[in-house]
């Protein structure tokens, strides 16, 4: 371990979830999915495609990983069925 630290000369790390910390902490708005409005078809998945943090899943009903979702709202903006809405608050509990 000591050798590994001594040999470290550049900021390189294995890409891994949470490499930049739990970015869900940054969130001031939280996304909600109305699964009845969602097409539930993998021919859509625009929310998954546009999410800059890769936190939207591909299995239906869709889930968003709130550990890392920064609450940017891009998924809500892009959803053609307006199935995703943003609500003030860091967690779903805050909102509820």
């Amino acid at each position: 371990m000591a050798d590994k630290i001594r040999e470290t000369i550049s900021a390189a790390s294995k890409p891994a979830p949470g490499e930049a910390g739990r970015t869900g902490d940054w969130r001031s708005q939280t996304p909600f999915i109305d699964h009845d409005k969602c097409s539930q078809k993998d021919t859509c998945l625009l929310c998954w495609l546009y999410c800059p943090d890769g936190v939207v899943g591909r299995d239906f009903p869709l889930e968003i990983d709130l550990e890392y979702c920064k609450g940017c709202g891009i998924c809500a903006e892009e959803c053609p069925r307006e199935a995703i809405t943003m609500a003030e608050g860091k967690t779903r509990d805050d909102v509820a």
Partner: protein, 396 residues
């Protein structure tokens, strides 16, 4: 069989990069560097050089491209001058901080405004604090050999190297150059193993957006933070003083030519007065020294080859018995003085040595500097009063 060609320093730099088997080249043309890019593009086009040649839209992109290619293990090369080099400035810091062994030819040219395409060394001196190694050459043979040495140095200490040579004075002047044998270059430059800690088998996230202090590796280990990594860069640059000397010694044993490592000396054995300079101006100073010796002054010359890391120890040893030091340089830190003169004075202050010290800024924007002008300036500085001045400023 000896292969001697009559070529310019620009062609020499391109041939040397090719001999080193560079795999990725990204460059944007700018006078007086353009012939380097043309020569390399021609070699890639003809198939003589098996490399990827990226035609980029700017110098910033050129440096970003070679940094990325270097991070995945390619041997890379680029070249630029003047305002192109300044446009790279952000990426120069990035290359050094990422510890990639990029080698770049800097064909020294004055910086605008006002525009000049002619030679001085303000461009590379202005990049002094980016963490790059800077080597200054005095002729096309040294450019050839220094590009080859630069890969050896860069890949040993994981610090990028800038090989600097004067625009037009060297870049466009044809002289005979002994081209090293490809197999000897391969022997001198073993295949590079890549940046430590990064491999294609284990793709790494390099320079993550968030770098906490200290940062945590995904497996939980605490790794060095920003300041610790920067300290290592400084430590390794200082250690590179020895690497530069070794690279030159080993080059000599294989190719029979030495360029002095960190610096070279001319008639310094019994010198009472030292002229100190870099690049072609240092070569020219040897003519001034000869002339001054004919007039009874015991003058020698020290050519600074490595400007960063600064060879303070070797300079102090070389100046141990002189009475005066006169620095000639083609750059200035505006508002104070010449960069080489300031660094050299600082090095002397750490010792008991107190030679009478003069310095001159000369040849900015390609203004011709003659040996006679150097003789006049140095003779006055030695025999009258020490002075910090400029040579041949008109209309004052």
């Amino acid at each position: 069989m000896t292969d001697i060609r009559i070529i310019t320093a620009n062609e020499a730099a391109a041939v040397a990069a090719s001999l080193c088997g560079v795999q990725v080249i990204a460059a944007y043309p700018i006078t007086p560097q353009t012939p380097v890019t043309e020569a390399l593009a021609g070699m890639v086009e003809s198939g003589e050089l098996k490399a990827e040649y990226l035609t980029v839209e700017s110098e910033h992109s050129a440096m970003a491209s070679v940094i990325a290619a270097s991070q995945v293990g390619a041997r890379v090369f680029t070249a630029t001058s003047a305002n192109g080099l300044l446009y790279m400035h952000e990426m120069l810091h990035w290359a050094a901080g990422s510890r990639v062994p990029v080698v770049m030819a800097c064909v020294n040219r004055g910086v605008g405004a006002p525009w000049t395409i002619l030679n001085d060394q303000q461009d590379s001196i202005s990049q002094r604090d980016t963490g790059w190694i800077q080597l200054y050459c005095r002729n096309s043979q040294e450019v050839t050999d220094t590009v080859i040495q630069a890969y050896r140095i860069a890949e040993h200490v994981n610090v990028p190297v800038m090989v600097c040579y004067d625009g037009f004075v060297l870049s466009h002047a044809s002289t005979p150059v002994d081209i090293p044998d490809r197999e000897d270059v391969d022997r001198y430059l073993p295949r590079w193993a890549g940046v430590p800690g990064i491999s294609l088998d284990s793709c790494m996230n390099v320079n993550p957006l968030i770098l906490s202090e200290p940062r945590q590796f995904p497996d939980g280990d605490l790794m060095p933070g920003y300041m610790d990594l920067r300290y290592r860069l400084q430590e390794d640059l200082v250690a590179a003083l020895e690497t530069i000397e070794t690279a030159d010694r080993e080059f000599e044993s294989l190719f029979g030519r030495s360029w002095g490592g960190l610096l070279w000396e001319y008639r310094m054995e019994d010198a009472e007065h030292a002229l100190v300079s870099m690049g072609s101006l240092a070569s020219e100073s040897t003519l001034a020294a000869d002339d001054m010796r004919r007039q009874g002054l015991r003058v020698g010359v020290i050519g600074v080859r490595a400007y960063r890391p600064f060879p303070a120890g070797r300079l102090v040893s070389a100046l141990a018995s002189v009475k005066t030091v006169t620095v000639f340089e083609k750059d200035i830190s505006y508002g104070y003085g010449g960069a080489v003169a300031m660094d050299l004075k600082a090095a002397l202050f750490d010792t008991e040595l107190r030679p009478r010290f003069s310095s001159f800024v000369a040849g900015l924007g390609g203004r011709d500097v003659t040996p006679e002008q150097l003789v006049r300036a140095a003779t006055a500085a030695i025999t009258e009063e020490p002075v910090h001045g400029w040579i041949d400023v008109r209309g004052r």
